[in-house]
């Protein structure tokens, strides 16, 4: 059995009197797509923030690749091979598509304290950026400023930037948010393509996509894990149906 990419134990986050994440234990391995679902306010985004280092947990433990990283700053966690995409598009709006990816790829240089040679002449960085653009199917759009992209393309760029940092673990916060049907189909295909080589933790509201993609499902309600397991088992779980899926299935 390989070392899991991600393991959390008794993870907890309090905001004043509110417990946003309560006693969460998760495991995510390379080649596995682990989807976290739950109603709004269940603590899914807070969970991702704890894993990416955007927030420090109140208690509990986060392990990446067998190493305790609890409380490390986000840039250190990123350097360990974690890529995160955001629910609300978080890109460099005034840069072109390629420049967004190039800057992301540049983060894998041992250091960016390099002052003389133009950044555009670092071959390995350009190649990594070009690869990310290709993977995210943004070819031909490289020189377009991010502001001029459609919503779906911005989401693709968001993922492309994450990929340009060559992560082993991907934390994806609602990659399908606000996408049309066609854009969603494309993103699902992209995620499926990435699944074998990466460990992926996905927060998503689109149930069709979740059941099409996930190999493991965790359902969160009120900050705590209600159930976790294979998609079929979750679908059959009475508690889950009552708490969450019932209303969605009825659509």
């Amino acid at each position: 059995m390989t070392e899991p990419a991600l393991r959390t134990a008794a993870l907890r986050k309090d905001f004043g009197g509110l417990t946003a994440v309560n006693d969460v234990a998760l495991v995510c391995r390379v080649g596995e797509l682990h989807a976290v679902i739950g109603p709004n306010g269940a603590g899914k985004t807070t969970l991702i923030n704890l894993l990416s280092g955007d927030l420090a947990p109140s208690s509990g433990r986060v392990e990446l690749f067998g190493r305790d990283v609890t409380g490390l700053p986000s840039h250190s966690i990123s350097q360990l091979g974690v890529g995160r995409s955001y629910q609300r598009t978080n890109i460099f709006m005034r840069f072109t598509v390629f420049e967004n990816c190039r800057l992301a790829a540049q983060s894998r240089l041992p250091s960016s304290m390099r002052f003389l040679r133009p950044a555009a002449r670092y071959r390995e960085v350009n190649e990594a950026a070009a690869r990310a653009v290709e993977l995210a199917e943004l070819c031909g759009r490289e020189q377009v400023p991010a502001t001029a992209l459609s919503h779906g393309e911005r989401r693709q760029l968001e993922v492309a930037m994450t990929l340009a940092t060559r992560p082993k673990l991907l934390l994806l916060d609602e990659p399908l948010a606000g996408m049309g049907a066609e854009e969603s189909t494309r993103m699902v295909a992209l995620l499926r393509k990435l699944a074998p080589g990466h460990a992926m933790l996905l927060v998503e509201h689109d149930m069709d996509a979740v059941f099409a993609l996930a190999s493991v499902l965790t359902v969160m309600v009120n900050g705590a894990v209600l159930a976790s397991g294979a998609p079929e088992a979750i679908r059959a779980n009475r508690e889950v149906q009552e708490a969450y899926l019932g209303s969605e299935d009825g659509e």
């Binding site: 840039h75 005034r94 800057l103 133009p118 950044a119």
Partner: protein
Amino acid sequence: MERQPRVLQVLLLAGLVALIAFPLVGEKFYLQFITKVMIMAIFAMSLDLLVGYSGLVSLGHALFFGVAAYALMLLTPEYQAAGFWTSLGASLGIAALAALVVGFFVLRTSGIYFIMVTLAFGQMTYFYVHDSSHLGGSDGKYIYVRPVLEIAGWSPFDLEQPSHFYYVALAMMVLVYFSLRVLLASPFGRVISGIKENEHRMRMLGFATFRYKLVCFVLAGALAGLAGWLVAAHDGLVNPEMLSWHQSGQLLMMVILGGMGTPSGPILGAAALKVLELLFQGWTKHWQLLLGGFIVLSVLLLPRGLAQLFESWRRD
């Protein structure tokens, strides 16, 4: 590297040629005036590295300018010349060190708090110098002899001669201009622009942003120190006003007037402000009113600065 508009390239080149030729025909007064403008342009470029490229609006940048100037004064023995390289190195070093210490604290804040804390550091230093009699107190001190560069008994130039000083300042300005262009195109420069655009995302991409901001702050401080050393050597005197927030504020105006985050903006801004000051002073004793009015108008009409004039030409 970002290409500059063709019109601007031609104008810059023409400007450079004019600046090189000017001492052949110009009077001493204007020679010294332009020397001052070029030094202020270096100072403005150093601030633009923070304000325009990193998004760090500092109101205490005069601190580094001032400490470098005072360093030259302290290193100059009475009625003797300081060494060119030793005093320049010391001035740059002390300015960089000051920026390292100040930056270590102020870069933990952002936005309006950053402005306030840089202002506070600037004013602390101003009052310290202002109230220190060994530094000349509120009157400042004279530097009777300008630094001398000697290589085995031979001096390539004599700073006591206005035209020589003029060319040294011009060479420094051109050097700083091109160094900054190289810097901004480098991986370091890209990180700085990324931080300005979206620091949170930079951290999430794995960049330890504080470190980059601190290095940028130190570089900007050292360049301000270069300007401070030049001004002290040129004017032959230092006084506390060099460190005051008026100085920082006027500098910020130059950068905004010329165009933040554009390579030539700070040069245009420094030139425009100094030339207008001279012009309006000749007209009326209320010249500050005219200058203020001009700044209001130009910010309203050209929010991205004088450099914007050339950008719009390109689009036509």
